[in-house]
Amino acid sequence: MEDIPTGKGGLIDFKALNRQAQEIIDEFKLPFKSTARARDLSVAYQQMIEIMKAYRRKPKIIAFDEPTASLSDAEIETLFGIIHSLKQKGIIILYVSHRMKEIFQITDEVVVLKDGKFVEHLRTAETDEHAIIRRMVGRDLGDIFNNLSRNDKKGDVVLEVRHLIADNVKDVSFTLRAGEVLGFAGLVGAGRTETMRAIFGADALKSGEVWLKGEAVRVQYPEDAIRLGLALCPEDRKDQGIVARQSVKNNISMAILPSLVRHGLIDKKAEAEVANKGKRDLNIRTPDIDKRLGELSGGNQQKTILARWLASRPAVLILDEPTKGIDVGSKSEIYQIICDLSKQQIGVIVISSELTEIMGVCDRILVMCEGRITGEISREDATEHTILTYAMADMLGGRQQ
């Protein structure tokens, strides 16, 4: 806990340092010692330490930018307790979040920004979630889902997975038809991402079969999967999806580069065509395709990754948390893109932890829990209650399919 520094002329007075640190920790009513090592603490407590570091300097304002992104529900409660006590001490809190629930839980006033512009300043008590979302998109989320133009012509089974076993995945079987949007719901750690990574060859597949367009295939590496017509948009866009320092163009052409080579050299004209097509089709907002991808917003980065995979003309597109950390405007665009892709007879798999999203976009929803599929629901029958019941099957007494 020596991350809270106090210099004492030349040598560090560790006793005083620990005492001062402990005082702050006690003031925040946190259950660890000042001598604990920060890395041994949970992410939530590490974040508390950051807050205490800021607090020590007696600030008038503390700004939080999406502080709950990596916290569990219980940890969020602790964080909110702290924010509340900071408020009591007269500190002004600026809280940036895209999670509506939190905004209403802890704020007094809300400022809505859209596309870098001020939209409206509201009193939290006098507004509601729908009102804010309407200002963010110009429409209601419910309307967005109702107005999606969906695909109603499903084709044959394009992907079939039989008894897949991998790390954290215990016997998963399912089928996906061409033109279908198949949702994977479940709690964090249910094995959804691991299932998809094993199918895609990103992680080892211990046993089980993957059938693509009626043929058993062996996928050892992602390059095999790509060649066979699979595409995977990973969950962590920043660390696993984008190459931030490279241009939008280079990011889009990445997966199909082998097909753009003429006489050993990359055909620049063909590459620019592919990139411009992606930019147009997915409405990527960038002045030109040579701009570095890292300089675009999260929503446009995600659309660029989508463009990368669409250029490869996949038979199956797997989207892992496709709207995580993305503004509501881009979200609604991505929902329509997903439906458009299903119309092109691409089989789309959507993993999402947002229940409204999964219920709004998917034709059929599989629920996973503890590495197994515990339930299957069609969109018409889906309610938050049934999905959560399946998602927590293990805690509710092993209610199996």
């Binding site: 390059e223 696993q240 490279q246 990368r308």
Partner: protein, 334 residues
């Protein structure tokens, strides 16, 4: 097809000469070229015009050839976020081995390929340590640097191996159309790899892996294979450099090329190749080479003691990087 061409033109209205001019002024290489120009002007003035003489320019190019070959490999590796510390040792080992083989009566047209193939083997060893044993490239090649420096001494018993193979000595000292053969070799190889890095899929993948290795893997780019090729290429170029060294010194010297890799990394970094990976170009590295060698040569002409030359090279590196840092910060603020 024609329709896309039109849209392309629309989206890029200031194509043609003006675009080239703006691109030049926005280019990261502008600062570097200015620095190089400054160095040239200062030394030209201080040496009373002898600096830019044809004879001296050729001196600079000769000094550049060997370190330049290694700079190619180091630039590729630095862009992927790796580094190779062994080229100096590989060059010495290869140079001594070439001398021994030539003294056995083997033809240089056999010896040079053999030595370069062995170099590739050493590169494969480096890649094995990095890819399979998951060692940091810095540590792995620190180990092979030590191993092959030792091997260089062992195979010759610690003594220089003198050479009198005529054709091999021509390889080091001969000229074609007035240009030294090592310089011609360097220019051809450099031009080849410039195209490889900027225009081929292989080169693109170097940038992609350096920019985001995980995303590259998930997009089907095999980084182990690529690193294997890069380490093999770097060591082979170092081995060729070692042969040139031996030919120029008419002997295989086990202590030669000490610190060659650091000169190569310095030149690459001076030329804007980022140590963090993902950024840089061979064009930049070439300017970096010119700056470094031009600076060294200028100090030599002014009879600055060689120890001070070493000191000033360090100062030059710091100056170049702080300039770059300030420039980047300003452009970020914009």
């Amino acid at each position: 097809m024609t329709q896309t061409k039109q849209t392309l033109k629309q989206e890029n209205p200031n194509a043609g000469l003006s675009a080239i001019v703006t691109r030049f002024f926005k280019s990261e290489k502008l600062g570097l070229l200015l620095a190089l120009l400054l160095i040239i002007l200062v030394f030209q003035a201080l040496t009373g015009g002898k600096y830019l003489s044809q004879a001296n320019l050729i001196n600079i190019m000769i000094a550049m050839a060997v370190v330049g070959l290694v700079t190619i490999g180091e630039s590729f590796l630095l862009i992927t976020g790796k580094v190779d510390l062994s080229p100096g040792s590989v060059a010495a080992f290869s140079g001594v081995l070439a001398a021994i083989l030539l003294n056995q009566g083997l033809s240089m047209y056999l010896v040079i390929p053999i030595v370069m193939l062995l170099g590739m083997g050493i590169g494969a060893l480096n890649a094995f340590l990095v890819n399979k044993l998951k060692l940091e490239a810095f540590i792995a090649t620190l180990a092979t640097m030590s191993i092959f420096r030792g091997m260089a001494y062992i195979i010759c018993g610690g003594k220089a191996v003198f050479l009198n193979d005529k054709s091999f000595l021509t390889f080091g000292a001969g000229r074609l159309f007035g240009i030294p053969i090592p310089v011609i070799i360097f220019v051809i190889i450099f031009a080849f790899f410039m195209v490889v890095l900027s225009r081929t899929r292989f080169g693109r993948n170097v940038y992609m892996i350096g920019g985001n290795a995980v995303a590259s893997r998930l997009t089907g780019i095999n980084s182990n294979k690529l690193l294997l090729k890069l380490f093999m290429m770097t060591s082979a170029l170092a081995a060729l450099g070692g042969c040139i060294m031996s030919a120029r010194m008419s002997s295989g010297q086990p202590m030669s090329s000490e610190g060659l890799e650091f000169d190569a990394v310095t030149a690459a970094v001076l030329g804007g190749v980022a140590m963090g990976g993902g950024i840089g170009s061979l064009g930049g590295a070439l300017i970096g080479l010119f700056i470094m060698q031009g600076f060294n040569n200028g100090l030599m002409m002014l009879n600055v003691p060689s120890f001070w030359q070493t000191v000033s090279r360090g100062l030059l590196l710091i100056a170049a990087l702080s300039f770059d840092f300030l420039r980047n910060r300003r452009s970020k603020l914009k």
